[in-house]
Structures are given as C-alpha cells and as structure tokens.
Amino acid sequence: MPFDPSLLIHLAILITIYAILSISLNLVMGATGMFNIGLAAFYGVGAYTSAILAKLGVPWFFDMLAGVCLAGLLAFVVGIPTLHLVGDYLAVVTMGIGEIMRAVFTNWMSLTRGPNGIPGIPHASLFHIDFAGIKFNGITFDTEPKFFVLGIVCLAITYVIAERLLRSPFGRVLKGIREDETGAQALGKDTYRFKMTILIIGSGMGGLAGSLFAHYITYIDPSSFVMWLTFFIFLIIMLGGRGNIFGGIVATAVFVTLREGLRFVTLPEWLDPSALQQLIFGLLLIVTTIFLPSGLIPERKTTYREMEGHATSREPHEGLRRAAGG
C-alpha cells in the first residue's frame, strides 16, 4: 500500500480521540482502581446520541453535551447497584452494559438503524447563528486539519480537568480508595460518593470521545463499540502507567501509531491481521502486567517536600511532623 501523507493527520486525530478515552479510563481504573470494562458502551452512547441529535439538526456543541450527559447518566445507573459491593461486581456489570449497549445499537433498528449504521452525520460546527434575522457563519470543522484543532482543544480541556482533579484533595481520596478502601472509610470518607463521582466524570469523557468520533468519521455502526476497544485502551493504560494521565496520552500515541502501522505490513494469506494484532497485544499485556506493574511512565508519587510547599496544606502528616519536631 502506498503511503499517503494525509494519513498522518488522520492518525493525529485518532490519537486525540483515543487519548480522551485513555484519560477517561485512567481516572476510573488507573487512579481509583475501579474495573470499568464497559468503556466502549459509554463511548458508544456518546457517539450515537451525538449522531442522532445532529441528524435532527441540533448544533454540535449541544449534541456533544447531550452525549456526555447521557454517558454520565448511564454510569450513574451502573454505579447504583455495584459501587457498594466489591470491585468484581462493577467489572461484571460494566461488561454486561457493554454487551447490552451493543445489542441496543445493533437491534433497536428504528433508532440506530442497526448494523447499517448511521451515515451522513454533519460536520461539527460552532457559533452558527441563524436566529431572529441575525445571521452569523461560525466555524465548520469540515476538513481534517480543522477537526484536528477541535480534537486537540477537547483533549486539552479533558487533560486539564483530569490533572486538576487528581492533584486536588478529591484526587488524593481516589488514590486512597485504590490503595485501601477500608482505610479511606476509616478516615471518614464516603467512598461510595467518591467512586460514583469519578465514574460519572470518567464516563462523560468517554461520551465526549464518542461524539468527536461520530462527527469526525461522519458514519457510525455497532462494530466500532466492541469489547476490543476497551481492551485496547486497557493495554494503553497498563503500559503507559496507571494513574499517570500524561503517560497514558504518550502510550496512546505510540499504540495507535503501532496499530495503524500494522496495516501496512504484508502478511501471509492465511494469517488474519486482526487476530495477529489481538495475539500480540494480548501477550504484551500479560508480560507488562507481570513484569512492569506500574507501566513505562509510572505515576508520580507526591513527596513530603512538595507537600511542605503547600502553604494551605492540611495534611495530617504536617501536624504530626511538627509535633515530632521534624
């Protein structure tokens, strides 16, 4: 296959969309240690909501918002029965939600057109005003470079939100839940609420990625929202360093490039390329999990020295250290 330079911009856009997914999973799984293996469902809900509303003439910003909210709402519903229980149940139910949503996308013909998919989704646009005689032509993200800018902006916003969350006291509680949930409860934290909040935020981000995907490709069908996608992001998080948002983004860039690059490798006739990909990535994930448990770019551990720098720090250690004369 000849190499086409316009593929590079396509690759860059895919990376921004997948990077948002990686942030979504990194907050829920990497930072908080919750097993969300239904990421594809939230991604799909975002994509389908956006696509259906956009076809009805809703402007991009609002259909995206609806996708984010609906994905968050689904997360809330999933969280109610599971977050009081040990993490295994969340894994089982999110996997189930993944399958149920795939069945909905495939079988609810009147809404989603089933396996035929939804073609002709309008390009994303912003600031189009045609109201009460006032006409203003905003920006339509109809070319790849323009869409790349939109993707980067969305990624940047998601990144800043995630980083700020993790560095806040809220984020420290999340990591506390990951390390020792009972301990966090002993310190008086309502872990259910923390887990629920981050599951909703993370899933909303998944919805955002889905909306971007729908408006970029302009065609969606159920085959884009399968378990394999969740697994792929899983691999990215585990290799990039769970809990490290930036590491996850770097790993996304590496793996999406690798995956798309594999398309240019000529394989023998009998070898199914998608099966080979699955085999390689699967083995890679096993090896990483065993030998490199914190990933290639491990989570930064906050040191006491840094905490000292916080003028308003209310860390319990602070007082203890002072009391000990340190």
Partner: protein
C-alpha cells in the same frame, strides 16, 4: 402449554451447559477471590480441540475426542494459572483481572489463526426429535443434558466425598488457615483450575454440538456463566448450578415475550436485577460482597 413445556426443556438443555461453565468460574472465585475472565475462552478453546480431533484433523470418535478435549483443556487451565495468574497472586486485584482479559484475547486469537474466523459445525446429521409427551427432543440434546447431569454428579462426589474435595473447600474457605494446617495451596489451586477448565471444555463442546462453533463464542459463554454465578452467589458451587439452569430457562422462556435477537441480553438483565435485590446471590454469603465495612 405445549410451547411452554418445549421452551422449558430447551431452557434446561441450555441451562445444563451454562451450569457446567459456571461451576468452574465459581470454584476459581472461591479459591482465588478473583474473576477469571478467560473462562469462557477456555471453554471455547476446549470445544475447538474437540472439533480439531473429531472433525478437522484426526477423525477420532466423538466420545474420545470429547474426553481428550477435557483433559487437554485441564492442562491448559493449569498452565494459564501458572504463567498468568500465579505471579500476581499477591498483586493488587486489578493485575490478575487484567491478565485474565488478556489471556481470553490471546486464546481467541489462537483459535482464529489456527481454525479461521468462520462458523464451524460438527456436521451432525439432523434427526427428527423424539416426542416425549408434548415435547420434542433430539438424541443430541438428550446426550447434552445427560452428560451435564453426569458431570455435575461427578463434581459433587469429588468435592464432598474425596480428600481433594475437602482440600478445595478448605482453601476456598480460608487460604491461610488451610496452609497453616499443612495444605499445599498451590497444588490445590492447580487442581481447581484443572477441574474448572475440564468442565468448561465439556460445556464448550456440548454448546458446540448443540449449535455450532465460532471464535467469539467464548465471550458469550463468559457472559452467561457470569450471570449464573452472580445469581447463584459468587464462590458457591450449588449456586452456580442453580444459577445456570435459571439463566437457561429464563432465556428460553424470554423469547416467548420479546424478539429472539435480545436473547443474549436477558442474562444480563437478570444479573443486574439480582444485584439490586440480593447482591450476595441465592447461596452467597453476604459478608463477602460488601466493599464497605460499615
């Protein structure tokens, strides 16, 4: 009424295979307290071994191929535990769960590469069902329900009438206490994986005989077995069996009311409902499920 009886029998046949798959899940959960996501793929792998032996390569008789598949898959289960789960026994729970998902993808990929992604059939001749009262049942279906019942009785005897069974139950109850009492828990856990994988292979083969084989069937088995185990109570063997039958029956009766394309989602609907009503499941212990100590 006749339709109801027929659907009920179909449900029992499907339920028997789900129960077989679910038992292995539940035993692994009992021993290691972790969900083995690869279990369904192990079942599918076993079914493909039988297909390879009986149809694709060697043309050995079905019965021999069936038992050979069970033995080989038991071996596979032990190897998987050794390589992918044992190094992570004391790691955070996320780690073995991750490798389990990876193992399931690897097994499916091997099946796809070796056997191809198309649907395979054991090529059994279609025979007319035997009428038992208002119900029709094919000889193959009789064999399916018969072998699942025999295997469950075998498992019961193994668990409750042998020393190994006692050790397995002891490890499931409390690993540390079992080790203090002088048991080799590694050996017991290997045995659990061997038994669970063999039963999974049996389930996979029977499902394959009932319908057909495809590389994605492992995922479907995972889903059904999951639902059965949670419904019956995580870690409980009788619970897994009851849960398996309930899921099978509910699915088949369900298609009476809703279109058949939604059949596979029924299991999950029941599962989520069960979590709302009684998270510990029918036979589960309540204190094992709560993440909160309060």
């Amino acid at each position: 009424m006749a339709i109801f009886a027929q659907l009920l029998v179909n449900g029992l046949i499907a339920g028997g295979t789900y129960a077989l798959a679910a038992v292995g899940y539940s035993m692994v959960y009992g021993a290691l307290k972790f969900i083995n996501f690869a279990h369904g793929s192990v079942a599918s792998f076993g079914a493909y071994i039988m297909f390879g032996l009986a149809v694709a390569w060697l043309h050995v008789p079905f019965v021999i191929a069936f038992f050979a598949a069970m033995i080989l898959t038991a071996l596979l289960g032990v190897i998987i535990e050794r390589m992918a789960y044992r190094p992570l026994r004391h790691a955070p729970k996320l780690a073995p769960l991750t490798t389990a998902i990876a193992v399931s993808f690897v097994l499916d990929a091997i099946v796809m590469i070796v056997m191809g992604s198309d649907i395979k059939s054991f090529g059994l001749p279609t025979v007319e069902g035997i009428a038992i009262g208002p119900v029709f049942i094919t000889p193959v279906q009789l064999i399916i329900i018969g072998s699942s019942l025999v295997l469950m009785v075998f498992l019961y005897v193994l668990l409750y009438r042998t020393r190994l069974g006692k050790a397995i139950r002891a490890v499931a109850d409390d690993v540390n206490l079992a080790e203090v009492s002088g048991m080799d828990s590694d050996l017991v856990i290997s045995a659990v994986f061997a038994i669970g994988s063999a039963l999974a292979a049996a389930a996979g083969c029977l499902i394959g005989l009932d319908s057909n084989l495809q590389p994605t069937m492992g995922f479907v088995i995972t889903v059904k077995a999951f639902a059965a185990v949670v419904l019956g109570g995580l870690g409980s063997v009788p619970g897994a069996i009851v849960g398996g039958f309930l899921i099978g029956i509910a699915e088949n009766l369900g298609v009476w009311y809703i279109p058949a394309v939604w059949k596979d989602t029924i299991a999950y609907g029941i599962l989520i409902l069960a979590l709302f009503i009684r998270p510990a499941g029918i036979f589960g212990k309540k204190d094992q499920t709560a993440s909160t100590v309060l």
